[in-house]
Subunit: 148 residues, 2 copies
């Protein structure tokens, strides 16, 4: 079914904004609407997006099972939709949800990103340049050192 | 270059955890580390992940230009890496960053999700079932009504 176009009731004016991958899918980032936690990333075709926009429940396309997947129908961990935003190039949606149940991850974790922290060098923005400090105190002059 | 394997210095023990798409890429969600804002979604191959983990700067693979892209090198809007997490099935990373400059989006917006809010029906988790209330007060008995 890869790349096949499945029938959809998605509003054509929304469909026209989408830039799908070669399998006809958008990436969908699910975020807890109040805490900001990134819960998981799934995939949506036009019809999954339509169902997400119209049913109040986040609905994905399962690439492995090649079927629609209403999050929580099996696990009880529903995602209740609060808002859906499309990104600037039309290939990703940000779905803000209220995550019910034990969490978003099939492992039982709250988010799919809880388990594996990779070792990373932390970066920091450079300190702002110090304003040039004018000192009226003359530089120490070795010749002026008090005799020892 | 689609699907080609580019040379990389990524730690093999990390590389072994990755489940890349057919172009050899992972989705990478960039999130502002302190506010939780989802800034953008980009793509990383093994070497982009290696550079992200080791340089303190979020580094992506540009699918359109087919080259590495150190976020902010051109725009000044660097992403300073705070942490990198891999998801449960190894195909997505969550990169928590400190977003510098005007923002993450090439349009000048703070995030790539600022511009397009799609019309969505809001969902809400059902109210918890009311606990059965036992009342010891007998139901009002019309026969016991005080005479009017």
């Amino acid at each position: 079914m890869t790349g096949a176009v499945r029938p959809t009731d998605l509003d054509p004016s929304i469909a026209a904004k989408l830039k799908r991958d070669r399998d006809g899918l958008l990436a969908a980032v699910a975020q807890q609407h109040d805490t900001g936690e990134v819960l998981m990333v799934g995939w949506m075709d036009d019809e999954a997006l339509h169902r997400t926009l119209t049913t109040g429940r986040a609905t994905y396309w399962s690439r492995s099972r090649q079927e629609y997947w209403v999050k929580g129908d099996t696990s009880g961990s529903q995602q209740w939709v609060k808002s859906v935003r499309l990104d600037c190039d039309g290939d990703t949606v940000l779905v803000q949800v209220d995550q019910a149940g034990s969490g978003a991850c099939h492992t039982g974790d709250r988010t799919c990103f809880d388990a594996v922290l990779l070792p990373a060098v932390e970066g920091s923005r450079p300190e702002p340049a110090e304003p040039a400090v004018r000192t009226d105190t003359p530089a120490a002059d070795p010749d002026a050192a008090s005799p020892s």
